[in-house]
């Protein structure tokens, strides 16, 4: 019965720093005016609370309900629950008012905080009281990023019969997954999973691929966005190009291939990989002689092209597209392993990052999938000695794989990159499979084999004779012509120091370089680690606090391919749901505290008494 309800509102911060801007005194004063609130107490940051003392207070103030408010108030819920039980009250009458509930970055945090507190006081979920507004939606969707997440989302939405624009920075879609050789734990080839999907995207009548493109600005409101997309000059008409490779042969400029993470060269006119979608060449303007000399020199490719597909003078242009929903699937970049000097990356030629190893072991990679060490060779063009991969070079007799390079490390990225353990195990398997005589060591901290079939895969790798060492490698040194890896083998209580021919660094995943700029353009800020912040970790892991903008895949936080695919499809569900209904739910921000409060009060009154 409402008349006897006496709610105590306790404010306490867990000290995550996310809501420091909110004036708790103001929110407390507001809460105090709510009819059922009997007391408001400000406890500050990370208070040490004693259940018996709180119980005494609850008894003294005759509180029937408690609301714990703040950032992550759940940290204090158990103590209040216990205090409530000790005071003889109903322990279920302890409710949380978490300021993070409406998303991390709202325009009026104080108003939202008040609304959240009001809802908790009435015991009504914010999501119901702050009934979202629905506005008409443009059925077209923009997907930013053409990796596996973007591809999956685009295919699902397009499969429902709706238009999708797929913006990709590179000349081809495919993202990182296209670089991989095999995928854990089934070891089926990445290309076999991805390339058909890429083909499907390329052929789908509802999907328009905008490659070599970047989102510049976004205007409008959810359901009716106007997006300006910069299309960089591709200089090769993808519709005319037949990928006959004639241009490549005449191009004189050598550039380290991004797709092969720099371990081999490509030309200035190139195709990242033979299965690229669109299956056409592209000119790298930054290295093309013709472009750099403004037409004074070279131009050999254009003369050579039998299809007249090459237009060296193509200019970048900006196009504007109108969409109702935007899906961000920008993925990740690899941690720069140079930053950890003691692992010798960049200094020791046979220290590779995971992505480099991935290309090395890839059947379509520079050595045709043979795992070999880098050997010095005289570059005839530059007359300098370079370390190169050559299919005929000696294979490594021992390989060390170092986990958590740049992950789980306060000095670099404190988060776990989630996929490294498994891909490292996969590497070990590939080493054992291709070089049965080679020794392979894994240096790990915690083996995170959590998915379906992963733990079984781990067991299998151990059975294959891979040495799994619990302990992080401290350093890789060059000594007498080979590399020495030093680390503690904790379980066997010893310092391991042994020579290896190859070191693979399981480098962390980091937000893609353009993330902050894109986030600003979208009006959604990334979280502390740089990943996009989801609206609600549990119940809305793909929405952002701005309606109509969704996140899918690794750009929200590291995840493996199955999780990425699931999340990407999940986003498609949200988009499809809105376009099928013809209207989109827009965010609760900015929020009207009074309206929310009134609705919550009405809902509480209408609720049958338990």
């Amino acid at each position: 019965m409402a008349s006897t309800t006496r709610v105590g509102v306790y404010f306490c911060h867990a000290g995550t720093g996310r809501f420091d801007g909110i004036d708790l005194g103001d929110v407390a004063a507001y809460a105090h005016e709510l009819p059922t609130v009997a007391a408001t107490v400000e406890l500050g940051v990370r208070p040490r609370l004693q259940p018996d003392r709180l119980a005494a207070e609850i008894r003294q103030r005759q509180l029937t309900d408690i609301v714990v408010a703040g950032d992550s108030p759940g940290h204090f819920k158990p103590v209040f629950t216990r205090a409530m039980a000790l005071a003889g009250g109903d322990p279920r009458a302890v409710r949380l008012a978490s300021f993070g509930e409406a998303g991390a970055n709202v325009t009026s945090p104080a108003a939202v905080a008040k609304a959240i507190v009001a809802c908790a006081v009435y015991g009504v979920p914010l999501g119901l009281a702050a009934a979202p507004v629905r506005v008409p939606v443009n059925p077209a969707t923009l997907v930013i990023g053409g990796g596996v997440a973007g591809i999956e989302t685009a295919l699902r939405i397009a499969g429902g019969g709706y238009k999708v624009y797929l913006v990709e920075r590179a000349a081809t879609i495919g993202g990182h997954m296209a670089m991989f050789d095999k995928t854990f734990p089934t070891l089926d080839c990445a290309a076999c999973i991805l390339t058909p999907k890429m083909v499907a995207v390329g052929q789908h009548e509802n999907i328009q691929i905008l490659n070599c493109a970047e989102v510049q600005s976004i205007q409008g409101t959810p359901g009716d966005f106007r997006v300006r997309v910069l299309r960089r000059a591709r200089r090769v008409d993808p519709d005319a190009c037949t990928a006959c490779h004639a241009c490549r042969e005449v191009c004189p400029v050598h550039v380290p291939s991004e797709f092969d993470v720099g371990i081999v060269d490509r030309k200035a006119i190139y195709m990242s990989f033979p299965q690229a979608v669109p299956n056409a060449y592209v000119i790298d303007g930054e290295h093309c002689t013709w472009v750099q000399t403004e037409g004074a020199k070279c131009g050999a490719c254009a003369k050579r092209c039998p299809q007249d597909a090459i237009h060296l003078d193509e200019e970048p242009r900006t196009i504007e597209i109108a969409v109702g929903n935007i899906v961000v699937a920008t993925g990740y970049d690899i941690f720069d392993a140079h930053r950890i000097e003691r692992y010798g990356y960049g200094r020791l030629p046979n220290v590779l990052t995971a992505l480099e190893f991935e290309r090395l072991t890839n059947a379509s990679g520079p050595t045709g999938g043979k795992i070999v060490t880098r050997i010095p060779r005289l570059n005839k063009r530059t007359k300098q000695e370079e370390w190169v991969f050559d299919a005929e070079a000696p294979a490594p007799t021992s390989v060390a794989i170092i986990h958590c390079v740049g992950s789980r490390d306060a000095n670099y990225n404190s988060y776990c990159s989630r996929v490294c353990c498994m891909y490292s195990l996969k590497f070990a398997h590939l080493v054992k499979e291709k070089l049965p005589g080679a020794t392979c060591y894994q240096f790990y901290i915690d083996m995170r084999a959590f998915g379906k079939g992963y733990e079984e895969f781990f067991e299998r790798i151990k059975d294959e004779g891979v040495f799994v060492v619990r302990g992080r490698t401290a350093r890789v040194d060059a000594r007498d012509g080979h590399m020495v890896v030093r680390g503690e083998d904790i379980v066997h209580d010893r310092i391991m120091e042994f020579p290896v021919d190859m070191v693979v660094l399981a480098a962390a995943l980091q937000p893609a370089v353009g993330t902050p700029r894109l986030a600003q353009a979208l009006g959604v800020s990334p979280g502390a680690d740089g990943w996009f912040t989801e609206l609600n970790y549990n119940s809305d892991p793909t929405a952002t606090n701005r309606g109509g903008i969704f996140v899918a895949g690794v750009c929200q936080g590291p995840k493996d391919i199955p999780d990425t695919v699931a999340q990407a499809s999940a986003v498609a569900a949200r988009v499809l749901s809105s376009v099928i209904c013809g209207s989109i739910q827009i965010s609760r921000d900015p929020i009207s505290t009074t309206a929310v409060e009134q609705r919550a009060a009405a809902m509480a009154a209408a609720r049958p008494e338990a």
Partner: protein, 382 residues
Amino acid sequence: MAVRANPHLIEELEKYGAQDVVKCYHCGNCSATCPFSGGTYLFPRKSMRYLQMGLESRLRATLEPWLCYYCGECSDQCPREAEPGETMMSMRRWLTSRYDFTGISALFYRSWRAELIAIVVVALLTGIGLTIFGLTYGDLNVYDGEGAFLPAAAIHRFDWAMAIVLVILLGINCVRMWWFTVGGDRGVRVPLREYLKLAFLVPLHFFTQKRFRQCNEKRPWAVHLVLMFSYLTMLILIMFFLHYLQDGPAINWVAHGFGYAAALGLVGTAIYAVHGRIKKTETHYRHSHETDWIFLGLLALVSATGIIQHVLHRTGQPAAANVLYVAHMMGVVPMLVLEVPFSKWSHMAYRPLAMYLSALREKAVAVESAPADKRAAVAQTA
């Protein structure tokens, strides 16, 4: 038989400065980074493990903390900011308190107030005692020679008396240290021959600190060496040649030369350390226990008063020089009586002793256990 874990030990060690050890998730990076870690002695991680688990008996028997010189590399690289270097430092403090049979050390480390009060009390007693002594047997206006307020010979005798007490206290603690780490361990049996054969290690490490130099970071070793040699020089001068410094008017330039150099070294290193600790310039200066400040404070006080009284004496102001002399002694005595056996300075005995004991232990382990012993194995996988 299983060992009992004690979840409360970590709280105890927190008072000694090990606040961050809880964060350690045992990646082993610190142990692999440390050039001293290997073979029988794996640290800091393993010591941190014992600490986290509260295995007090194991921890008391470890020598590892003394093998660490706190170059700070492990702390710099620690992915969890668990400060392994500082944890080792805290463990040295805790071990010092365990070795000390009087319990004074534990009191000091756990309560800086207690230490400060003790220092003030000792200082006051010294001050009052010396003043009474001086006024009774000499003249405030006379610094040296006949009727001196504090004659060198008397101070000399006082110093020696103090030294004997100190050596006894420290000696007992050292024996306890031996018992905890080697003597009382039934798993370790060291033949007497080895005790004698390796005895040279104590003076060797005491004077050269050659292990310290093996740290990747050389500067702390250099600073420490300067401080130690200055201190030793000063100690030798005071214990054996006090009259050369104090008596005038003739100046013995050899003694004075050493004295000035030592004073310069003490003042210089004290300033360096104070500056470092305030600005947190180096990893091992990032965390300062209260006892570190007390130690530095005393060092600065003693150096300053010592220098000033000497200047006053040489510039012909005996009364002022005598007053400063008393003040100087009020610093020196607590420093020697309290700091050396019970606090930070005791490490000058424990550390070389630890080198000696660790060598003994290693020998014993190598002799007794067959190659099967995993502790001894340094993996050399070809």
